[in-house]
Amino acid sequence: MGLLSYDAADVVVREDLAAAHERAWLRLARAGTWFRAERRLAIAAETRAARDCAYCAECKAALSPYAVEGSHRAATDLPENLVEVVHRVATDPGRLTHAWFERARQSGIGDAEFVETVGVTATTIAVDMFCRAIGVAPHPLPEPEPGEPSRARPAGAKSGTAWVPMLAPEDRTAAEACLDNVYVSPDPTFVRRALSLVPREASGLFDMVDAQYLPGRLIADVAGRHRAIDRAQMELIAGRVSAVNGCFY
């Protein structure tokens, strides 16, 4: 595909990992379920721009982030309400609140659009964070490909557990077969269900997870060693990242 390369890195990046990141970039370049490629790439660009947003920095430093007045420094033509979602998710995820989510919804963002926005933001952050960690420059974002979003909403998605509706394994149909790589057990964890309102986004995210962390079938093998660091070392890193991010999950 040639959308990104780790050839410039000082270290050899596993082929499966580089391929997963390349697939992630390809997904950014194509129409999603609710957004055309141009909007997905604008979300990715805005995810990067959030790091240099003075208002985000001010909110991050504040005891009450939602009491800070100001506006985001946007780098794209995304609507303000989407910029707010992308920047907050990118820069201060540990202090997102249900009230903030409801304000985003009341501003006109559909629940599935919100989920796709979160998926694109998280995808961009994963690839960029990996680049930073190994010491290579962020990959240029790809060029958009033509295509229309499918706007396919799972009929069985239900509200009530999370802020967003989710699709339980027993409620999915053949139309959501792409969740096969996400729902790898009969009772998948909530983080595996979190983006299920947009099944293709969930599937794409967990395509990356399989390579970055472990394939779902190996997660329960807590004594096994499947990477160059052992499982306890992996979990220490995972736990420390989540603690720094303020993530309770």
Binding site: T123, A133, V164, Q233, G239
Partner: protein
């Protein structure tokens, strides 16, 4: 998962190492270095990351650096998905980790309404 992996291998780990910057390696080989690598990557403050990356490569090798970087990337994404979608803990996990979360202060990370 850290507690589960330690139980499975019979290793003694100090879970405070996750939440406490000063808690050391938690009984995990090169734990302090791996924590420092994660913290420096998330902080993105230049020189410390370059230095800790070099120390990690020297201590554990290139493949370990790549896999550690991949875990950082992974949880940087999954944390945001979990926080932005408002998923709760699964009931079984909530019940099974109540003592641990209280001890480590993880409940304080929950977003307010």
């Amino acid at each position: 998962m850290l507690r589960a992996s330690a139980r499975a291998t019979g290793d003694a780990v100090d879970l405070n190492a996750i939440v406490d910057e000063e808690a050391g390696d938690g009984g995990i080989p090169h734990g302090s270095l791996l924590k420092a690598f994660a913290e420096a990557t998330l902080a993105d403050d230049g020189t410390p990351l370059t230095d800790v990356r070099k120390r990690l490569r020297n201590a554990l090798g290139d493949a370990a650096l790549v896999d550690a970087a991949a875990v950082i990337a992974n949880y940087s994404a999954l944390d945001r998905v979990a926080d932005a979608t408002g998923i709760p803990l699964e009931p079984a996990k909530e019940a099974g980790t109540a003592d641990l979360r209280a001890e480590l202060g993880i409940d304080a990370f929950r977003g307010s309404p």
